[in-house]
């Protein structure tokens, strides 16, 4: 359920969980690739007004299951590629 099917050519898949899923009213979607990771939150803010301050600023990000620190300058040149699986990870609440 959480891992979507392969995106069409020139796109990546983004997964939304918990509060991010409620805000966007979807579990996943396909967005155009390539996209510098530093631009991702801006793209999402345009699509979902208010999502950055309300949701994304407290979220972490994974690309193909690996965490990427979006606040780290050295990550600013990371580019999301076609077919990548990106996930927005809100603060967890397991247990």
């Amino acid at each position: 359920m959480s891992t979507a099917s392969k995106p069409p050519a020139g796109h990546f898949t983004i997964l939304y969980f918990a509060s991010a899923s409620s805000y966007t009213a979807r579990d996943s979607e396909n967005l155009p690739a390539p996209l510098p990771v530093s631009k991702l939150f801006e793209v999402l803010e345009v699509k979902y007004s208010g999502i950055k301050p309300k949701i994304l600023d407290s979220c972490l990000l994974t690309i193909n299951l690996e965490y990427v620190d979006v606040t780290d300058d050295s990550a600013s040149d990371v580019v999301i590629k076609e077919c990548d699986e990106v996930a927005i990870i809100p603060p967890v609440s397991s247990g």
Binding site: S2, T3, F17, L60, D69, P91, V92, S93, G95
Partner: protein, 196 residues
């Protein structure tokens, strides 16, 4: 059906089915172990006195299984455990039922007690599972965050939240990973290299 990773003396799983204490204990049972410590986390009927109707868990399953494996491998080595197993239930969990079971076995009890507690704390701060509390009525559900019992995020919140008041006025500094209920950003991997 459980989704699971079995790696030598570590067993981690996610399932939509009710949890069974005996079967998770049997995962770590061994003639080399003189102790099995079992933790069962059960769902409470209230949050801060407010009645909770039901709880629902979702997960980024492949990522959660990797994180659970990394936690278990790290504790296995740190406490010289015989075996460790961790299973989390997903979907709707009725009040009073188990949402998580952790079983730890070791030659002597002290290591198992300690590792059991650490395993739960690590799990609660890192494993990519989210709990939604349904209060019923008009309020809708709330996605809980495991940070200091914070109130979580209202699903239907349309109004802008005021910044929190600090001792010198509102706190406007942007958040950093690690202070919002996440652990620090670490690249957990299945080679178990997230040593403290």
């Amino acid at each position: 059906m459980a989704r699971e990773i079995v790696d030598q003396h570590c067993y981690v799983a996610l399932t939509d089915d009710p949890l069974d204490a005996k079967s998770i204990m049997d995962r770590v049972r061994s003639p080399k172990a003189g102790a099995i410590v079992l933790f069962a986390g059960t769902t409470r009927d209230n949050f801060g006195g407010k009645p909770v109707k039901e709880l629902q868990y979702t997960s980024y399953e492949p990522r959660a299984l990797q994180t659970m494996t990394a936690i278990c491998k790290s504790l296995l080595e740190k406490h010289s455990l015989t075996a460790i197993a961790m299973i989390h239930r997903l979907g709707v969990v009725p009040i009073g039922e188990e949402s998580i079971l952790i079983a730890v076995s070791s030659p002597h009890r002290q290591a198992a007690w300690r590792a059991g507690e650490e395993a739960l704390e690590e799990c609660k701060s890192k494993v990519e599972v989210w709990k939604k509390e349904e209060f019923g009525g008009e309020e809708g559900g709330i996605w809980r965050a495991n940070r200091d019992g914070a109130a979580g995020v209202r699903i239907d919140s349309g109004d802008k939240k005021e910044p929190a008041e600090g001792p010198h006025g509102p706190i406007l500094r942007p958040g950093r990973p690690g202070e919002k209920g996440h652990g620090p950003v670490v690249h957990l991997n299945t080679a178990g290299e997230n040593k403290p």
